[in-house]
């Protein structure tokens, strides 16, 4: 009991410290680091959606870039071309993307393992082709520029510092909602599906429908993230929504710990920073990500974040025991 108390306090402390750290970053960071922090916030939203799908429900997706891109393009097209308010565009995009993912999910989530991976992979590739080829809507390779900025009242989010706070507010909200879901009735049902689909059905869980719902939720997260990206850059193009991004999201989720909501930030940050270093290797980055994925899965199957955290806890327990004796 005492141990549990310590652990609880410890985890709250970490959260408070993390939020405080996040809040002061913009006071010290230059534009370069601020940009990285914003992108990490945006990508973390995509990652945590995949964690719910892969880590908690046990269903793989290699096509998250499709939903990320859909969000970005919906925002850009609706707000730039049709003059819809950026916020409305963002939420319309998320709703449509979620509905789209649900109907795709009902079809493909009957598949398992490699077959599901292939189907979602195909979805990602097809959507990327749509982004490139439906040029009359998407602007093709050139994309869309001059996407309006987001604003609240008179406050326009056109500076990096302001945008940083906006993105992280979204991101932390997404993490909190995910954490709440995981520990709820629905979260138990998701974990039940991961552990045994037969047993899940035997207690009345509609497995296919619930899988499709969590797939849709992951798509909504990705779509909101895409919208945030579009309004940050004030531009969209097909490149950020390619196959490589889908793979990166899987690596981010695995490194953070698939079944760890807070690990998503850590995994995303690690992969993003590493990815920037590896950028000059172009397509060969995939090899590095693949290697990273293998190392983490073999040596730290619960993810780097969870692995480090349990090490710290072990060390803490040992030192309190030593202090007591």
């Amino acid at each position: 009991m005492k141990l549990k108390g310590i652990r609880l306090k410890w985890s709250y402390l970490v959260i408070v410290a993390a939020v405080a750290a996040l809040a002061v970053v913009p006071l010290f960071a230059n534009r370069y680091y601020l940009d990285i922090a914003i992108i990490i916030g945006i990508h973390t939203m995509v990652t945590v959606g995949l964690c719910l799908l892969m880590g908690y429900t046990g269903q793989i997706s290699l096509g998250q870039a499709a939903f990320y891109g859909m969000g970005a393009y919906f925002s850009a097209i609706l707000s730039k071309t049709y003059g819809v308010s950026p916020w409305a565009a963002m939420f319309i995009g998320a709703a449509v993307t979620g509905g789209f993912a649900y109907s795709i999910g009902i079809a493909v989530l009957r598949l398992r393992g490699n077959y599901l991976a292939m189907a979602t992979l195909a979805l990602g590739i097809i959507m990327n082709i749509v982004f490139t080829e439906a040029a009359s809507f998407t602007g093709g390779q050139d994309g869309i520029t001059g996407v309006p900025y987001l604003s609240v009242g008179g406050l326009v989010f056109d500076t990096d510092r302001g945008y940083y706070y906006l993105v992280w507010a979204f991101c932390l909200a997404a993490l909190l909602v995910s954490r709440n879901i995981v520990s709820s009735r629905t979260g138990r049902a998701l974990r039940a599906i991961r552990d045994s689909e037969s047993a899940a059905e035997s207690i009345g869980i509609n497995v296919l429908q619930l899988k499709a719902k969590v797939f849709a939720l992951s798509a909504v997260y990705a779509s909101l993230a895409g919208s945030l990206l579009a309004h940050y850059w004030a531009a969209v193009g097909p490149k950020p929504f390619d196959f490589l991004f889908s793979i990166k999201v899987v690596v981010m989720a695995v490194v953070g710990g698939l079944a760890s909501v807070w690990g998503a930030i850590f995994g995303t940050a690690t992969v993003k920073i590493l990815g920037d270093w590896l950028h000059e290797f172009g397509e060969y980055q995939v090899i590095a990500f693949g290697l990273m994925l293998m190392i983490v899965i073999v040596f730290m199957p619960r993810g780097l974040w969870v692995h480090l955290r349990s090490r710290v806890l072990q060390w803490q327990r040992r030192s309190t025991r030593r202090a007591e004796s």
Binding site: S184, T186, A189, S198, A199, E201, N206, A259
Partner: protein, 262 residues
């Protein structure tokens, strides 16, 4: 006798050329513990899988409380009141014992993604209710001391009791137990037998598939014997024990002749 809660009529299941069940008729009555016994390959588990909607029957019909269940999915049948456990237990390994039983309340609760995600008051209230009910059931199966342990960390015998608790959480009217005694020691089996009787006395029709004849004789009010996909006998435990066809099925024709001669 009371009206049957479950009726199986002309049930046939063929897997390719293999006929697992061959025109089986049977009835399960409420207020009784019914054992389905038979040698390996008699079709017992297949019968469970058809009743719960995992397999579609090749022919025949299953009615529950007078309603045909043809074409119903497993979750729909659970909602009507059919609960089950599995031969290989299938607890949710990475959840605690208590969470396993809480998961069993899924069909009896409603909070979805939005309410749970935003921790709305109704979500918190329902969660409280779910955990209270789960604790009550955990005590019923006498596993309260394991509440916070991971399901995979407790011994098999106790996992099986937790699995029964999880099935009870769905509030079944009919509870199907697939080999609940397998892997249990003598003391655990006695506890299991008492538990099944308690569940019966709560008004649940209990059906078990079991190889342990001792457990069956001690527990079952009614015994149905399957062999090679056919029902060959039914009656009280006392009656079927003395049935020639049953002895032949278990021990072979020779034994039957010897039994008859001796």
């Amino acid at each position: 006798m009371s009206e049957p809660i479950l009726e199986v009529r002309g049930l046939t299941k063929a897997f390719g050329g293999l006929v697992a069940l061959d025109k089986v008729d049977l009835a399960i009555r409420p207020g009784l513990i019914t054992a389905v016994i038979g040698p390996n390959g008699a079709g017992k588990t297949t019968l469970f899988n058809i009743i719960t909607g995992v397999y579609k029957p090749t022919e025949g019909e299953v009615t529950f409380q007078g309603r045909s269940m043809n074409g119903m999915s497993t979750p729909e049948r659970v909602r009507l009141g059919i609960g089950r456990t599995f031969q290989n237990v299938l607890l949710f390994k990475e959840m605690t014992v208590l969470e396993n039983i809480m998961a069993g309340r899924h069909g009896k609760s409603h909070v979805g993604f939005v309410d749970a995600g935003l921790r709305l008051p109704n979500a918190l209230r329902e969660e409280e209710r779910i955990s209270l009910e789960a604790i009550r059931l955990l005590n019923l199966v006498e596993q309260g001391m394991h509440a916070d342990k991971l399901a995979s960390d407790i011994p098999l015998g106790q996992q099986k009791l937790v699995a029964i608790g999880r099935a009870l959480a769905t509030e079944p009217k009919l509870l199907l137990l697939d080999e609940p005694g397998a892997g249990l020691n003598a003391i655990e089996k006695r506890g299991l037998s008492d538990l099944m009787k308690r569940i019966r006395d709560m008004g649940v029709a209990v059906v078990l598939v079991e190889h342990d004849m001792d457990l069956v004789m001690r527990t079952a009010d009614w015994v149905i014997v399957l062999d090679c996909g056919r029902k060959i006998a039914e009656g009280t435990a006392f009656e079927v024990q003395r049935d020639k066809r049953v002895i032949a099925a278990y021990l072979g024709e020779d034994a039957e002749q010897r039994y008859a001669a001796g």
